[in-house]
């Protein structure tokens, strides 16, 4: 691989892994608060998977691209050195917000890791093959609930629609880095970001039609970009403070 490709690959892995870690932390905030016990457990389990995915991707950075140890990367970086999108930083809000985010995020993840499972860069393909099996359950869970609520009462349907109107523009932050990934895509190492985005959009639209929900008339994603360059919302720093509080007490402690 050329030095440019390695640099782009490193950036790509940081973005992917940081998304996993931060959404994982957000999902874990439902532990003890779920609207029903099963949802409490589901969001907690999904959180555990996401943190596992983050670990696997940080490990790739460590073992293949000479970056620091996974725990160091996860817990010792400053906010500006995180490359997650704004979409995953947002607080959990109410259940409708978290559910729609969970659906839009995991659908995009499924498309992404299904594609990366065929990557010419074998270390990424191996991790993607592992992740994709787990994501099937995340998407299945999200779709079951969004569908159920979209086809439920007037209130549940209205709440799914209003959450969708709010969340959808944020979700485009997932695909923010088209230029950086172009070189990797040309080399056949990954699928182009634009191709992933268009697959995601058509899948979202197909589901909305089937469930009687509408693609919002106004989707302005521009307010939610910048995360991939290290520019974050005011929500990220408090999350990092909480997430790293124990680790920073004694970074050399044996767990």
């Amino acid at each position: 691989m050329s030095p440019e490709q390695i640099k782009d690959l490193r950036q790509l892995l940081y973005r992917l892994a940081d998304d996993q870690l931060i959404i994982g932390h957000r999902n874990s905030e439902w532990t003890g608060l779920g609207p029903v016990l099963e949802e409490d457990i589901a969001f907690s389990s999904i959180a555990q998977d996401k943190v596992g995915h983050a670990h696997a991707l940080y490990q790739l950075l460590n073992q293949e691209l000479a970056e620091p140890e996974p725990d160091t990367i996860a817990f010792m970086r400053d906010e500006m050195d995180f490359f997650c999108c704004h979409f995953v930083e947002m607080p959990i809000g109410e259940y409708d917000f978290s559910l729609i985010r969970h659906w839009l995020f995991d659908l995009a993840e499924q498309i992404r890791f299904d594609a990366y499972a065929e990557s010419q860069w074998l270390p990424l393909a191996k991790v993607a093959r592992k992740i994709k099996g787990e994501i099937k359950y995340h998407v299945f869970h999200a779709e079951t609930w969004v569908k159920t609520l979209a086809e439920g009462t007037e209130e549940s349907k209205a709440r799914m629609q209003s959450a969708l109107n709010e969340v959808l523009p944020m979700a485009f932050g997932l695909f923010e880095c088209k230029e950086n990934n172009a070189l990797l895509a040309e080399a056949g190492l990954i699928t182009a970001e634009s191709a992933l985005q268009s697959q995601w959009e058509s899948r979202v639209k197909a589901c909305l039609t089937a469930w009687g929900l509408q693609w919002p008339s106004q989707v302005d994603a521009s307010r939610y970009l910048g995360g991939r360059q290290g520019y974050h919302t005011s929500q990220l720093q408090p999350l990092l403070n909480e997430m790293t509080e124990v680790y920073r007490l004694d970074p050399s402690a044996e767990w």
Binding site: E38, E39, I41, A42, S44, S45, I46, Q48, D49, K50, V51, G52, H53, H55, A56, K126, V127, R129, K130, I131, G133, E134, K136, Y137, F140, H141, T144
Partner: protein
């Protein structure tokens, strides 16, 4: 391998790591035994403990042991042995059906009850008390039960 059959999955303590299918290779070089493992789920909290127990089991044979965990072989539930499936069922969990790459979620809605074998059941949630289990309910024997999920 016999030594490894004594190492149990901490979440199903009657199922060995061998029957669970997470041992992907054993290489012997003089007095060094290298064991390759693959995690069931990437976020499995029991992994570190199992690595330690596997290392100790091999060292118990009087040789040096090295345990390597990687994704070279991705675990899926088809790797659970027939004996393992029987053990899982006797433990009170529905074993995962074999699949050809894509687990059938619709079929999971009617998973056979491990207590009475009825398929008059429903899936309450694809997520249960551990990452590898889903929650179900049997309308015939009126029992809640769990399934070891097909992955």
């Amino acid at each position: 391998m016999a030594a490894l059959e004594a190492v149990m999955d901490p979440e199903i303590p009657v199922l060995s790591v061998v029957d669970l299918g997470i041992i992907t290779g054993v290489e012997i070089e003089d007095d060094l035994v290298k064991v390759n493992m693959t995690p069931t789920f990437s976020g499995c909290p029991a992994l570190k403990l199992m690595e330690k127990q596997v290392r100790e089991a091999v060292e118990g044979l009087g040789v040096r042991a090295e345990v390597i965990t990687n994704f070279d072989v991705a675990w899926n539930s088809n790797r659970i042995s027939e004996k393992g499936r029987e053990i899982i069922k006797n433990f009170g969990l529905a074993p995962p059906p074999k699949h050809t790459g894509n687990p059938d979620f619709e079929a999971m809605r009617h998973t056979a009850c491990p207590y009475c074998n009825s398929e008059n059941t429903t899936m309450k949630s694809p997520f249960g008390p551990t990452l590898c289990r889903s929650l179900h309910y049997c309308f015939d024997c009126l029992q809640a039960f769990e399934q070891f999920k097909p992955v």
